[in-house]
């Protein structure tokens, strides 16, 4: 399998009045084609920033400071300024017109809150027409609507409801519409940010099941951003655990749950309630995630880590191959 996406040493900073917050610090991930990668971590750890950085849509005042984002294109993409050739391209070298051509068509992003991401003045069908015509002005309204109906049907929404407005839809259905809009241009990479967080368990399970079906049908590669490790256990192939802007562990789902390496991953798994294990003693991690304005020398997790050594307080650990077959950034392990 080829790698569809490769991110190397990505650094994103938010320049605020209080100072500069480093939201991502030399983050590197690899995503194989047709796989689902889960980005997990607590709130404020930088998982959404990473997702948006791939689209080069980090919200103001954030900025990508350095790093590379390689995307493997299976076909050249025509742009009015300069066409993008087939093969691996570094998104950091593209201009804004070229990025616009890739967004939606190659990479689609489903934003976190379905309640505020749809325009209340437009029908569901209009949303589809807008997206498709922005990328291909030639496409007729009818053709766009047909595509919309087909996609919505696959998500369990009656096709005739394209004439309805967002307020006539429930939260779960709006989320389905958001997913449908993401798929409208048949992208290869779908990034969804907390797609089921505001939903009830039953609707969550329904949507995750439909997303899995769509992934097969459209040959998608997915990035699923969530704080819910239970959801990732059921859906992701690989998982990257992020803490305070750094990738702590990156491994296959089985390895991560079966043989977690990083002390943070272990502690996180101990803290997750598991309805199938009532005897499990829930634990917590002392302290709180660090303030990104206050730079902590060494490993960001060292103040909360029970295994912290002297080197952890001075030097940043790099991601190295771990025993579980994944990668881990921790001084407890040595590269083999």
């Amino acid at each position: 399998m080829t790698d569809l996406l490769r991110i190397e040493n990505l650094v994103v900073e938010y320049a605020t009045r209080r100072g500069t917050a480093r939201a991502l610090d030399k983050a590197s991930i690899i995503l194989e084609e047709n796989k689902t990668l889960g980005l997990a971590g607590e709130s404020g750890c930088g998982k959404s920033t990473l997702g948006r950085a791939i689209m080069r849509l980090v919200p103001y005042p954030g900025k990508i400071i350095e790093g590379e984002i390689f995307l493997n294109l299976d076909q050249p993409v025509s742009v009015k300024t300069e066409d993008i050739p087939m093969g691996e391209v570094n998104l950091m070298n593209l201009d804004e017109d070229q990025m616009r051509a890739l967004r939606g068509r190659m990479i689609a992003y489903i934003f976190q809150d379905p309640m505020t991401s749809l325009n209340p003045m437009l029908t569901i069908g209009d949303h589809f027409i807008q997206i498709m015509q922005a990328h291909d002005p030639e496409i007729e309204d009818e053709a766009a609507l047909d595509r919309a109906k087909e996609i919505l049907d696959g998500l369990g929404i009656l096709p005739e409801r394209v004439t309805d407005y967002p307020h006539q839809f429930s939260g779960g259905m709006r989320q389905r519409v958001m997913i449908g809009l993401g798929l409208a241009l048949r992208p290869r990479l779908l990034i969804s940010d907390e797609p089921t967080t505001s939903l009830d368990v039953i609707v969550e399970a329904q949507i995750l099941e439909q997303m899995a079906e769509l992934k097969d049908k459209f040959n998608l590669t997915m990035i699923l951003i969530t704080h819910n490790l239970g959801v990732l256990a059921q859906t992701a192939d690989d998982i990257a655990i992020i803490y305070a802007g750094r990738i702590m562990e990156h491994a296959s789902t089985d390895a991560l749950f079966g043989n977690p390496q990083h002390p943070y991953t272990k502690a996180l798994l101990e803290a997750v309630p598991d309805v199938s294990k009532p005897e499990k003693k829930l634990t917590w991690i002392p302290g709180a995630p660090p303030d990104l304005m206050d730079f902590i020398p060494g490993c960001m997790y060292n103040p909360r880590c029970p295994h912290a050594m002297d080197i952890c307080r001075t030097t940043v650990p790099t991601l190295i191959k771990s025993k579980s077959g994944g990668k881990v950034a921790c001084w407890l392990y040595e590269e083999e």
Binding site: E42, M173, I202, A205, A233, L268, A271, W284, A288
Partner: protein
């Protein structure tokens, strides 16, 4: 001993009528948020109230502590019906039960220091003078783990982490030494790494202060760790009440079964959910006839749309509202 008993309680919220409806004097419609609910909580127990959003669980919680008055029915607290209470009598009664709101950030006044926020209840109830209130407030801060209280007393909410704010919320709830606390989604807004800490605080307070809880949560995985019994609500009705382990291992109502199978399990080897109910929860303005779950129920038969099932004893101290039993 039954500390709180709710008998046939209903809460209907009127739906605002549009201009045209008013002209045509159309009939007033109601959101039936809680529709004929009965249950009780024994002293010293934790009853979990679970269900999807819109099932009426928060409304039920608010009724139990008389933040709102029921449309019909009785709410017995320690044997006394608190539903018809008003004014001074209700205010004094409210010392005995408290409510913690879902979102700690928006339920704390951003301009009120932590110490003042916690001591506010004493002020409102006219207990003690200023010094006494401040003293009690410090005591409570220590008790909920915000120590040393001196360093927290003058801080404002934005200077605290999410977990610490949740501690303040609990501090505010226990300062009047209540007997019964309704907590609405206490861990929904806190990160998973500190969830267990808040749950442990809750259970420690229960032990120390001899509290009884109504634990409202849509997160059934968490409820399993704290509740003694669990009541499942659907569209304003309670459809099943059982022992914690019974309801997780052997749910009787088809809706409970669906809910249980949909809980994500943090283990990639766990079996995937088999039968997830289709569709979504219907509108409480115009609930389905008969059993409210029948349009989504995989086991519905001809009796279900016609007859409304009552909560019946199904043996082993469990009750269920379903024609199958």
């Amino acid at each position: 001993m039954k500390l709180v008993e709710v008998k046939n309680v209903k809460k209907y919220f009127p739906v605002q009528k549009g201009f045209i409806d008013q002209i045509l004097s159309r009939k007033q419609t109601y959101v039936r948020a809680v529709d004929d609910v009965s249950f009780y909580v024994k002293k010293g127990e934790v009853l979990g109230l679970a269900g999807e959003s819109g099932s009426g669980k928060t409304t039920m919680g608010r009724l139990c502590v008389r933040l709102i008055a029921p449309t019909e029915g009785q709410i017995l607290f320690d044997g006394k019906d608190i539903a018809p209470l008003k004014g001074e009598e209700l205010r004094l009664m409210k010392r005995r039960f408290q409510f913690t709101f879902q979102d700690p950030t928006s339920s704390l006044n951003p301009r009120l220091s932590i110490g003042e926020a916690v001591g506010d209840a004493l002020k409102l109830q006219g207990i003690g003078d200023k010094d006494e209130q401040a003293f009690r407030s410090r005591e409570v801060l220590e008790r909920v783990g915000l120590s040393p209280a001196e360093s927290f007393y003058d801080r404002l909410p934005h200077q605290l982490s999410g977990g610490q704010k949740q501690r303040v919320v609990f501090g505010r709830a226990i300062i009047l030494n209540p007997e019964f606390v309704v907590t609405d989604e206490p861990v929904a807004m806190v990160d998973v790494s500190i969830k267990a800490q808040i749950l442990e605080l809750m259970m420690d307070l229960k032990k120390e202060l001899d509290l009884t809880y109504l634990f409202i949560s849509h997160d059934l995985a968490t409820s399993r760790y704290v509740c003694d019994h669990i009541a499942i609500m659907y569209l304003g009705r309670i459809i099943e009440i059982a022992d914690r382990d019974q309801i997780y291992e052997d749910p009787l109502h088809p809706y409970s079964q669906g809910l249980m199978s949909a809980i994500p399990i943090p283990d990639p080897k766990a079996q995937k959910a088999a039968a997830i109910p289709q569709g979504e929860i219907p509108s409480p303005i115009d609930p389905p006839s008969g059993c409210r779950f029948h349009p989504r129920c995989p086991k519905a038969f001809d009796r279900c749309p016609k007859e409304d099932p009552e909560l019946k004893n199904a043996g082993n101290g469990r009750v269920v509202a379903c024609h199958l039993y």
